[in-house]
């Protein structure tokens, strides 16, 4: 009996994994450009950012001052762990959480793409009817996603080395970031068994990522700073978070690989759990029951504006919470900013357009918020392309809704949502800088006004995206994101640092955005930006009236 069991168990496992190699090759082939885009994007970003920090923080005293600033400020500790005054350490303080989150998303999307999404779109059914074992799709997705993470670790290491940082630290940093990605291969594998939809699985994995961020951030906030004020020792919550494990390797000071063992152990446990769950569910289904909804529509849903709001509100709430949190953090930082000296002070006064460092700080932070809101606006407006290419537009325009009214549904949501986000940011920044500067009520009003003054520049970007959707529908998504990216790079945050020529910087609407509250808002600039936005919207509407819809065949 035992003999037969031991003989058949491996055979049965082999049967359940049948076809894994073929599916892995299929997944790798489908992912080849996506993966290259992730590696190139993250690698170039890390190389450029490291080089930027190496350049601006080349003075050791200044580096120490900046490091002390991020180590001693509670708000800044939320977004990173400080390990000492090194360029690499500063890079990881500033960017580790974001890079780790992106690596986690890269892994999550890859796993979902090759498992749950295949099931949702019915491809898995076709594949499953061939010689393919129960675990083959999951195994193939995990193999491809983990391989992508391994390459990412190497690419990021090379990027940091290319920017002139120590080799050992660079590759440990790359591995620490990719390790977070690897853990999310496991998280996504489990999420795909639980939820029956792509969205549900992505939501569950993103929720876990949010929890990991909060645990790591709170652990660092509650941690202790050494006497020199240059190194933070995290409190216990950090050790519950995969992001925390990645931070604890401290590649450019302690350089210990040990915390990555925790990540490896978590990955193994999660994959085992996913396999166990996969054995208990049907193809196309999850373990969680499907949710029921309302049998009839609420009154407010029954218009293009209401429909767009319904489809966007989740994203809006996410943005509002994020911008509100950042507003609160940047507000608390005002105290440290007041005490800045030398180069650090110069940067804020230059970008902020004021001799008073706090004014310059507020103006440039609020301009940054305006740029973030422009990204939100682009995201909302590109939904129009999703409507059209996905075919839902066909049903809407077959009713009494005109094309301009359909556009208006998105524009109203985009403009109102952007304005609301700016108000949230300005108000929350005012709330926490009030205790430092006095007159909280007045500050809130000033900063809300300054934030709203950023809306016209964002609207220009949004209107350009609208024109892209109308004039070049099939290319509107890459075009739209290129427009935002170009406007950001040529704008006041990066343009001067990159030494771009003046005319190029002038092309970015953000260059003309008011530097409020440091500089009084000039009506002329605001009206000019609004005028450009309106002109682009008119062009977009005229073009849209004349063209065929590009519906799915």
């Amino acid at each position: 009996m035992t003999a037969t069991m031991s003989a058949t168990a491996p055979a049965r496992l082999a049967e359940q994994l049948a076809g894994t190699v073929r599916l892995t090759r299929l997944a790798a082939r489908r992912d080849r450009w996506t993966a290259v885009a992730w590696w190139a994007g993250l690698g170039l970003f890390v190389a450029a950012t490291t080089a930027l920090f190496a350049d601006t923080l080349s003075d050791a005293a200044y580096l120490e001052q900046e490091t002390r600033l991020v180590a001693t400020n509670t708000g800044m500790r939320l977004i990173g762990l400080t390990s000492g005054p090194t360029i690499g350490g500063y890079l990881l303080h500033r960017e580790f959480v974001m890079l780790a989150a992106l690596a986690a998303l890269m892994s999550t999307f890859a796993v979902i793409r090759h498992t749950r999404q295949n099931e949702e779109l019915g491809r898995a059914e076709v594949l499953g009817s061939t010689v393919v074992g129960r675990y083959a799709a999951l195994a193939a997705a995990v193999i491809v996603a983990l391989a992508t993470d391994v390459v990412l670790a190497i690419v990021l290491g090379l990027a940091i080395v290319a920017a002139g940082q120590p080799v050992a630290g660079a590759f440990l940093a790359g591995a620490s970031i990719a390790a977070v990605g690897a853990v999310w291969v496991g998280v996504a594998a489990v999420a795909c068994q639980l939820s029956s939809t792509t969205r549900g699985a992505a939501g569950a994995a993103a929720g876990a990522l949010g929890a990991a961020f909060v645990l790591a951030g709170v652990g660092n906030m509650l941690g202790t700073v050494d006497e020199a004020g240059l190194r933070v020792t995290s409190a216990w919550p950090s050790w519950l978070s995969p992001i925390g494990w990645g931070q604890q390797t401290r590649p450019f000071s302690d350089a210990t690989w040990a915390p990555l063992l925790l990540a490896a152990a978590a990955l193994v446990l999660l994959l085992a759990a996913a396999a166990a769950l996969a054995a208990r569910r049907d193809l196309g289904r999850g373990l969680w029951p499907e949710r029921r909804g309302h049998g009839s529509a609420a009154r407010w849903l029954l218009s293009p504006v209401g429909l767009t709001w319904r489809l966007q509100r989740g994203a809006f709430v996410g943005w509002a919470v994020t911008l509100g949190a950042f507003g609160l953090i940047f507000g608390t930082l005002t105290e440290q900013i007041q005490d800045l000296e030398g180069d650090a002070q110069d940067w804020w006064t230059q970008t902020g357009g004021s001799d008073v460092v706090v004014d310059g700080y507020q103006a440039s932070i609020i301009q940054m918020a305006g740029m973030f809101v422009a990204i939100y606006l682009v995201q909302v407006l590109l939904r129009m392309r999703v409507d059209e290419a996905g075919g839902t537009l066909e049903s809407v325009l077959a009713t009494g809704v005109t094309r301009p009214r359909w556009v208006a549904g998105h524009v109203v949501n985009g403009v109102a949502g952007s304005a609301a986000l700016l108000v949230v940011f300005g108000a929350s920044m005012g709330l926490t800088s009030g205790p430092v500067l006095g007159d909280t009520a007045g500050l809130v009003a000033d900063l809300v006004g300054a934030a709203l003054a950023q809306l016209p520049a964002a609207l220009v970007v949004g209107a350009a995206v609208l024109a892209a959707v109308s004039l070049a529908p099939s290319r509107s998504v890459p075009l739209g994101w290129t427009v935002v990216l170009a406007a950001l790079v040529a704008g006041p945050m990066f343009g001067p640092t990159l030494g771009l020529p003046g005319w190029l910087q002038d092309l970015s609407p953000f260059t003309h955005s008011p530097q409020a509250p440091a500089v009084p808002v000039t009506v002329g600039a605001v009206l000019a930006l609004i005028g450009v936005a309106v002109a682009l919207v008119v062009v977009a509407l005229l073009a849209l009236r004349r063209r065929d819809l590009t519906l799915p065949v």
Partner: protein
């Protein structure tokens, strides 16, 4: 009611296209289509895949602009007056794409409200007859159930014209029969239906007239009786003495088995052949009119040598 040159049928025309052309770059999706749908009829719209049925629907809805030719719908121009006309029609697309996170009930309310409203009693009646659970999210519906959502959203509104693009391809036979009842009820109220379909029994059961589209133009149009006249009848005849059928040019597909001969003949030539047969002492005779399948196989089959036909034209 303007410029309606409706030759066939009695009533005014709900839809009329003349020499309708739609080009996508170098591709000619519609190549001079003439389509006439009379008010109050159920009109079948048939054709092989890629013949231009969906393109026609989208031109009729003002989503695509005609490259040339004339299109009238409910007395208006579907491109210019689309939103006004859309208040008087309901459309079920061939591929039903809906918002995955809305429930079926929400979609039904949304689409009918954007069209101008629905009849609440009809909504609940249709939900019941189609056995559709409106509280499920769209992503949880099967293809057939998504189609039912679109059908309920369309038929819950009382409009003049229903445009249905292969609306039953995902329905089971029971739901197919519910669908046929619903279409008949709509016709009984004097509404017009343009039904594109692949299911011949459905077309035969529902449609007053049909138009067959092939390579972007109308190949045939008329009642089933009209269409049958255009094609051959199968004859099986037993005669006391062998009849010299092989000598007749109008007789095709001849097979002789002793006293029994089987052949096919154009309906117009049937009388001549029969009177000749009588003189050879007919013992038994069976005439079978062409089935719908034969009719369409003949029409669709021509597609293969369609290029030759068009070159000849």
């Amino acid at each position: 009611m303007s410029g309606t040159d409706c030759s066939p049928g009695a009533g005014p025309s709900a839809i009329s296209t003349r020499a309708l052309v739609k080009e996508f770059g170098a591709t000619r999706a519609l190549d001079g289509l003439d389509l006439d749908v009379v008010t109050g009829e159920v009109h079948g719209f048939l054709g092989p895949n890629g013949a231009g049925k969906t393109t026609t629907m989208r031109v009729l809805l003002g989503m695509l602009r005609a490259s040339s030719g004339e299109v009238r719908l409910l007395g208006g121009d579907p491109w210019r007056d689309s939103a006004t006309l859309h208040r008087r029609l309901a459309y079920v697309p061939g591929e039903v794409n809906l918002w995955p996170n809305l429930t079926g009930g929400e979609v039904i309310d949304l689409l009918s409200d954007l069209r101008g409203g629905l009849v609440p009693s009809r909504r609940s009646e249709l939900l019941e007859r189609f056995e559709l659970d409106p509280t499920k999210q769209v992503r949880a519906y099967s293809k057939g159930n998504r189609q039912k959502v679109a059908l309920v959203a369309a038929f819950a509104s009382d409009v003049d014209l229903y445009l249905l693009d292969e609306p039953t391809s995902g329905l089971d036979p029971l739901m197919e029969s519910v669908f046929q009842d619903v279409v008949r009820a709509v016709r009984d109220r004097g509404r017009t239906v343009l039904l594109s379909s692949h299911i011949l029994s459905e077309v035969e059961a529902l449609c007053d007239r049909v138009t067959i589209i092939r390579n972007g133009r109308a190949a045939e149009s008329g009642t089933f009786a009209d269409l049958r006249h255009l094609t051959r009848t199968s004859v099986e005849v037993e005669t006391a003495r062998p009849a010299p059928l092989a000598g007749l040019a109008t007789v095709r597909d001849l097979a002789v088995d002793g006293d029994v001969a089987r052949f096919s003949v154009e309906v117009a030539d049937l009388n001549a052949v029969l009177s000749m047969l009588v003189s050879y002492d007919v013992r038994s005779l069976t005439c079978t009119p062409p089935t719908l399948e034969e009719l369409f196989l003949r029409q669709y089959g021509d597609r293969l040598d369609g290029s030759a036909v068009f070159e000849a034209v």
